[in-house]
Structure formats: C-alpha cells, structure tokens
C-alpha cells in the first residue's frame, strides 16, 4: 500500500511570513518524486508539511488543501501524531538516538509509543527493517552496539530502517545524502529505488544528477528574491524536466545557467 498525495492551493507560513505560495500538485503512489531548486526556495518547508512536521516550529501553519488518498490531513479532527505514523521521514543529517543500541533504534517507533511486542517478533521486525534498508549484513553481529558507533552512511540507512520499521505509506527524505560520501550516496539511491515498490517516496535534493538518476517525477521550485515566497515553477516527468523543460527558468537551472 502506498498513498496518492494531492496538494491544492497550498500556502505555507512561518508566522506572518509566507514561505511557499500556491502549490498545486499530485504525487503519485509507488513513484519517486524529487523536489529541486536553489537554497531557500521552500523545498524542505514543503516536504515538512506532508507529515505535519512543519507546525512543530512555533508560529508555523498551513493554508489550503492537502489530501492523502482523498483524506484531508489538515482537517481539525486529524491528530498530527497519526499522520506521522503513516508518513515516515529521513532527515538531512543522520540522527540515530544516542542512548539506544542499533536494534533499539530500529524498534524505536514501537518502543517509544509504549507498544509491547514479544522478543521473537521484535527480532524478526528488526531483521526485516534492516534488510529493507540494506544494512543487515553490515550490522547483524553488533545489534547491541550504540547506533552512533556506525559510519555516517550506515547511520543514515539506520534512520531509514527506523522509518520503514513502523510500516508507513509514504517516506519523505530531506536531502538524505548531502552529508554522505559518493559510495554511501549510491547505496541510499539504490535503496530509494527499492523503496518505491512499497511506498510513495518524496525526496528533496540539491544534486540534479541524483534527481535525474532516481526520480520518476521532478518538481522545480524557486524564489524571485529573498523575502518573497517560494513557488512551484514546473512539475513534470523527470526526463521532460531535464531534457525538454517548458519553462525558461527550469532550463536555466538544470543546465547550470541559473541567475
């Protein structure tokens, strides 16, 4: 199962500041959608609205419509905690919990919510999630070591394992490889392509080669100037965006003639 996400007339605010203006797009299930654009254009802000992490920041809120499989996730009767259980997220910097072992990190989505499970279920789930994140072979002999004892690339895959262990419908990745070396990046990219079999994957990236390598759809955002809101300029199939963009701004950006 994975979800179809529809954004219509979505405006995202930090207090009185309009950060992202009037977004209309449909994110298809079982695909990878990449958000590209210059720094400060609102890509990360927008991806954080998809699992209601945006409102964790004091004063931040959203106007407009955002539905997942037709259900409005910003309706007043919706608990943001329930949304986040369906929409997993991987952050820019690997952030395993430092007080927990590798195994506890993978199971943290259950353990932190006080869900009890038998030891055999826990072992099976940890193995399944770590295999899903292509990390099992590297850590199977040291599951009781601290999560922070792994390398940066392994830590990031541990964070992906932690996110997929709770079996969400959607995986959001906010620049997941920007702090990693090329080999770890390749591992995460392969993993993202495997993940789209089961999940809807949305990825924010600064790396245009990465977007063209792995994504099915690409959205290009930009801002006219600092202080002005970010806008969606073009949203199309990835090969169209990179080989035959309709907008001049997109063409300038993907060909490196930006600004």
């Amino acid at each position: 199962m994975s979800m179809r996400i529809e954004l219509s007339s979505l405006n995202v605010y930090y207090g009185s500041f309009l950060a992202v203006e009037d977004i209309n797009m449909v994110i298809e299930p079982n695909s990878i959608t990449a958000f590209i654009g210059p720094s400060g254009c609102g890509k990360s802000t927008l991806i954080r609205t998809l699992n209601r992490m945006h409102e964790v920041i004091p004063g931040a809120y959203v106007k407009g419509n955002l539905t997942m499989n037709g259900e409005d996730i910003y309706s007043p009767s919706v608990d943001p905690v329930k949304v986040r259980r369906q929409v997993g997220m991987v952050f820019q910097r690997p952030n395993p919990f430092p007080t927990m072992t590798i195994k506890e990190n993978v199971l943290s989505g259950y353990r932190l919510n006080n869900n009890k499970m038998s030891k055999s279920d826990a072992d099976a789930l940890a193995e399944k999630a770590l295999k899903g994140a292509n990390l099992w072979n590297e850590v199977k002999d040291r599951l009781d070591r601290p999560g922070s004892s792994l390398s940066g690339g392994q830590q990031q895959r541990l964070c992906i394992a932690r996110a997929i262990a709770v079996e969400p419908e959607v995986i959001l990745m906010d620049e997941p490889t920007s702090a990693l070396d090329p080999i770890s990046t390749a591992a995460i990219e392969d993993l993202a392509i495997e993940l789209k079999e089961k999940f809807t994957v949305v990825i924010v990236t600064h790396n245009m080669q990465q977007a063209s390598r792995i994504s099915d759809m690409t959205a290009f955002f930009t801002i006219a100037d600092t202080g002005l809101p970010g806008k969606l300029i073009e949203y199309d199939r990835t090969d169209n965006i990179f080989s035959n963009p309709k907008e001049k701004q997109t063409e300038d950006y993907v060909s490196g003639r930006f600004g």
């Binding site: 992490m53 949304v83 986040r84 952050f91 952030n95 964070c159």
Partner: protein, 356 residues
C-alpha cells in the same frame, strides 16, 4: 631540487637552553632565602623564617628572570608567550593554594576524633571528652534527603516546562523568579520555612522537615538551572526524529530527551546537594539543635552536621579542646560526604551518558 639550493627561510629562531630553567629556579630560591634571612636577622621580633615569604619572593624573582632571559635570547613573540603562561599558571596556583590549605587543615585537625565513637554516639549526657555526631549525621542525611526528594521532581519538571513547553509571559515570569530565587540568602529561606510552620503549628515550632523545606527553597533554583542547561543541549534533531516516528510530545520528552540528558542532570543534582548540605543558618532557625538522636523529621528538634560544628565551637564546655576537636571532625565528615556524592555523580555520568 638539489641540496645546494636549500634556503634558510625557516631557520634562525633560537630557543632557551634546557639547563636555564632549573638553574634560574635554584638561583631565585637561594637569593630569596638570603634576602629573607637578612631581613629576619635585622628584625628582633621575627622568631623564625617566614617560608611563605621565601616562596613568594623566589617565584617572583624566577618569573622576572625567566621572562628577561627569554626576551633577550628568543625575541619578543616567544617571550610574550612565556609571560602569559607564567601569569596563567600563577593565577591557577593562587586559586588552588587556599583550597589545599583548607582541605589539609580540616583533615589534620579532624583526624583527632575521627574514630568509631564519633559515628556511633550522640552528645546525650556527654560533658567534656567522648560523645560523637551520630545524631547530627542522621539529621543531615534525613533533612538533605527530604530536601532532595522535594526539590528534584519540582526542579526537573519546571525545567522541562521551560525548555519544552513554556512560551510567552508565563515562561518569562518563571525564568525571572528562578533567577531571583537563586539569590535568596539562606537565612531568609530559614525564616520563610519557620514562618510557614508557625502559621500551622504555632510559635516555637522545631521540625526536621521544616529544615528540608528551607533547603528546598535554596536547592530548587539550582536544580532548575542545571537541568535547563542540560535539556537545551539535547539536539533538536532527536526531538524531530521522534516526532517523525509518530511519537507524541510527552513520550518524546520522557523517553528521548530525558534519557539523553540524564547524566548531566544527575551531575547537576549532586552539585545542588553539595550546595545545600553545608547550610547552617536556616537549620539553626527551624530544625534547632539538640544533643539527642531524633529519627523522626516530623517531630521535635533535629541536629545536623553544620549546626553541630557551629554549636560545638560556639558553646565550648569546661574542657574546651574536646569541643573544638569534635567541631573539626564534624567538618571533616561533612567534607567526606560531599566528596562521596561527587564520586557518585562522576560514576553516574560515566555509566549513563550516551555512548558512541
């Protein structure tokens, strides 16, 4: 590149010969010794050589000589470095000398009565020699323990409110009053507890628990401040990682933030205990003093170690020396308790801090 073309760009800086420092030191000590001897012999009131003066003059002579030698041989940049090193080391030594002197004096004078009797006898019916501080040790442990039980939950929860939940006017007001509370004189805390208990139990009330409440007034702001600092350094990414897994805020605080900060909080609590365990004035008012052992903090007077030290010294009996000896040993025991607490805090932070 051939060896012939090697330039001398990095050569030419001379440094002090190795023998210079010890030689200078020996000369400085000798010079200081002879100057002080000469002064002492010319002064009929001086009965013996003042060793402190000898050391002081020797250190100053050595520092000046060393700086000048470095200035002449090594040049300005290196000599400035050496001068600052000497000043910083000197300031450190100046800070440590009183500390070592104090610790040594307490150990030396406290050793006289540091025996089994001191830990097993109270002062009931003791006049002159003998007796001990059993009643005071019990009182200090009970009152400090109660104060910790009151202060730690209030302090930690207030800090959690300030860091994780507090926004706007209320949080600012709490922060302001915590700052004010940090500056409350201990005697005022004692009077506050006394006044509160007089309202309930009538005038002349004396209770161990009153002392615990007075000490909590002093301890709570210290615990809040320490916990607040520790919670603030927990990276925000960990909170976000937890929220993104669909963990509610209260579980994020109790199961992610607090365990990550636990080692620092434990150290802060120990420092707060060390801060209040030596308080005398508030306990003198509300816990009073007694020669008998009292296990019940909710009834009648209770002795504590700081008050024991104070009364032993203030109300010396016929055999004054025995009272003074007991006072020093009381101070030594208090110091040892604080030291043990510090060692426990070290162990806690070693075993509970995040590994990686």
């Amino acid at each position: 590149m051939t060896t012939a073309s090697v330039t001398q760009n990095f050569q030419g800086s001379r440094s002090l010969p190795k023998w210079l420092a010890p030689t200078l030191l020996a000369v400085a000590i000798l010079a200081s010794f002879s100057i002080n001897s000469a002064l002492a012999s010319s002064n009929p009131e001086a009965t013996q050589l003042n060793l402190f003066a000898v050391a002081l003059v020797a250190v100053i002579t050595y520092s000046i000589g060393f700086y000048l030698a470095s200035r002449i041989i090594e040049g300005q940049r290196k000599s400035a470095d050496r001068l600052v090193t000497i000043l910083v080391t000197g300031a450190f030594a100046l800070a440590v000398v009183p500390l070592i002197s104090l610790a040594w004096t307490v150990v030396e004078r406290g050793a006289a009565r540091f025996d089994i009797d001191f830990f097993t006898f109270s002062m009931r019916n003791v006049v002159g020699a003998g007796g001990g501080a059993y009643h005071a040790i019990i009182g200090t442990l009970e009152i400090t323990g109660l104060a910790t039980l009151i202060s730690v939950p209030i302090g930690i929860m207030t800090a959690i409110y300030l860091v994780e939940y507090g926004r706007g006017a209320l949080a600012r007001a709490v922060t302001f009053f915590v700052d004010v509370m940090t500056g409350i004189p201990s005697i005022v805390a004692g009077l506050f507890a006394y006044a509160a208990f007089v309202v309930i139990f009538g005038p002349g009330v004396r209770m161990g628990v009153g002392g615990a409440i007075a000490l909590s007034v002093l301890m709570i702001p210290v615990v809040i401040r320490a916990t607040e600092e520790m919670l603030k350094i927990v990276p925000n990414e960990l909170r976000e990682a937890s929220y993104a897994l669909g963990v509610p805020k209260w579980l994020t605080v109790t199961k992610v933030v607090l365990p990550t900060a636990l080692a620092g909080i434990a150290t802060g609590v120990m420092i707060a205990i060390a801060r209040i365990i030596g308080e005398t004035a508030p306990l003198l008012i509300i816990a009073g003093f007694t020669a008998s052992t009292n296990f019940n903090p909710f009834d009648e007077r209770m002795m504590t170690l700081p008050v024991f030290v104070y009364t032993s010294y203030a109300n010396q009996g016929s055999d004054a020396q025995t009272y003074i000896d007991r006072a020093w040993t009381g101070a030594l025991v208090l110091m040892l308790i604080v030291m043990i607490l510090n060692i426990i805090a070290r162990l806690v932070s070693k075993y509970f801090s995040p590994k990686g």
